[in-house]
Symmetry: C2
Subunit: 411 residues, 2 copies
Amino acid sequence: MPHVVIIGGGFGGLAAARQLRGAPVDVTLLDRRNHHVFQPLLYQVAMAVLSPGDIASPIRWILRHQRNVEVLLGEVDRVDPGGKVVHLVDGATFSYDYLIVAAGATHAYFGHDDWAAHAPGLKTLEDALVMRRRVLLAFERAEREPDPARQEALLTFVIVGGGPTGVELAGALAEIARQSLAADFRHFDPSSSKIILLEGGPAVLPPFPEPLRDAARRDLQRLGVDVRTGTLVTRIGPGFVETGSSRIAAETILWAAGVAASPLGAALGVPVDRVGRVFVQPDLTIPGHPDVFVIGDLASLAGPDGRPLPGVAQVAMQMGAHTSRNIVRAAAGQPLRPFTYRNLGDMATIGRASAVADLPVIKLKGWIGWLAWLFVHIFNLIGFRNRIIVMVQWAWSYFSYQRAIRLITGK
Amino acid sequence: MPHVVIIGGGFGGLAAARQLRGAPVDVTLLDRRNHHVFQPLLYQVAMAVLSPGDIASPIRWILRHQRNVEVLLGEVDRVDPGGKVVHLVDGATFSYDYLIVAAGATHAYFGHDDWAAHAPGLKTLEDALVMRRRVLLAFERAEREPDPARQEALLTFVIVGGGPTGVELAGALAEIARQSLAADFRHFDPSSSKIILLEGGPAVLPPFPEPLRDAARRDLQRLGVDVRTGTLVTRIGPGFVETGSSRIAAETILWAAGVAASPLGAALGVPVDRVGRVFVQPDLTIPGHPDVFVIGDLASLAGPDGRPLPGVAQVAMQMGAHTSRNIVRAAAGQPLRPFTYRNLGDMATIGRASAVADLPVIKLKGWIGWLAWLFVHIFNLIGFRNRIIVMVQWAWSYFSYQRAIRLITGK
């Protein structure tokens, strides 16, 4: 039977593996982590609402009943499309008949790698725990800080980037400061914290239609977030952010701006875009190798409007399923079909009970948007257990205003 | 008002702080972590049943409504009982009128500190995550290991120490291997894993009465645990454990044997026992300093049978509450009262539905023991949220045989 190797157990790789259930192929899924993360809720781990275990499941557990799939923990070093071999960092090699590269993307700093130490980003569970740690430690240090200026810097939180992640982080952080921590400190009022959201473009949530962008901005401001659009960050250092000639003293800076594709894309030896995404052909293969498919955040493909498809879960999942159907066709001697994207809508949440949803037939905001967001996200959580737990967790968090998972762990 | 400083937010320190609710004193609770851990369930985090957030809560959250208490994050360096000052590692100092030292204990290696790298112990959330990581990684590596001898070593788990922690770890690990992982691997049968429990004494669970010790041993054996009593570990190195002249090849070794008290005890300048516990007077003060109290795992006090009271939660909690009552009496000019321990019973669980409980009026085992264990432990979990979540988690884990929090994170 043909051997399909899938690199990456994110939304794309997992959708590809699931689509191959019962197909006459042997599948090897390689990932350098043992778990799939439900990325849209990662910010809730970073903001101490959910535990890592609520939004992540072992990949081999998700695929345990699919007997034609083996899941292996391993980090891919490079791909040799000529020899049809995948090389791991530890020296192991895997031959393939068909390869699906779904290695994803991580956050990037536009060439300012020194900013990384001062402004952590959010792509993995570990990233989320680092953010949680920094935010909670800032409040702890503020409680012991006698100097008012230093205390103010400890209670100033800057979020760089006004996309969905930045908006969600800012909204959640504002709620923590204003509500969850209200009774916890004796030497300052947590609701006096400053939460500043910096966005270089003219509006937050750039891909959304204007009425929803405006609604998001108003909701953030109502939560007490200082939203500054058209503001480019020029420098980040220990305890400060500079935007042109002005400087913000902030001990906690969270990065929600740039993205860079996995270096595995460029290593394929085919053209990539400015952030390292592979220019794929309409059938998601790479030029000259009809047996190598690149999907998800690592792929650059123009959508119906001519702009590249966004790096979101639904694009990756649709690409994964499509590619597996193409592989089954190819194995049967049939031609590959081009990929077409069906946009089911975009969503972003702003705090506990407000969200914007840009759906094909309707645009939602406020409470209704939030309910839609809740339904879609809980429905899509992989693993029955997670859904129940997350529901209980949220219900409790919602009614009590508490963030009970406020643990500082690590280091 | 008199200033009471409490060092440590474990069971003892927290009970002391809570007992001072409404008392005419100002309380400062210092801890180097921001969270209280429900230690009896720590093994469930180590064995991927529960998340850290299920068994830990921020100390300041627990005490948020107690307005006479401030909770500060900080590591104590030393105490100066003459000057009545506590010095932190970061240079800060706190004067006190009354001091409660509840700094606890950690695991120790009987002078073999080099064993620590190969056989992690279990005292903090971080320790539990290290154990979880090692156990899960061993299975992952076994899936990719072609050499049968090395694969066998990867699937051999040695637990050193047959006290409650060792018994609980062994039982949970056996269930994971035999049940939870059953469908997950393609290149070995997880139920072929070897779980070996080593105990130097003649029986597991030494403090329990003989019928319960025998029941625990039988239950472990029924789960497939190889219980070896009267077996002293003489050497531990990378991938092996030696017991006299025999050697076990095992990639995963878990330490549940020795304990050492916090060095803060010895630093008080008063006599300590072999593991560093302070010999306290009947009123839990130290000789020459009627304003310094040592409680919990850090205190050595003979019980009614002449043997030192065990380092368990109920001893610490009773000592904490008693000490706070004594402080209120002392502040009112009344004499201190001696501490008397009221034993409410001992419990240990062996896997999913079996436990032994040695209660004052009755001894329980099997199913009934397990229900008693479940009730007592969930009832005592601090924070309403945790109880509900842990119940749901357990119900799911129980009915599905799944350990869904099998995440390998960190490093």
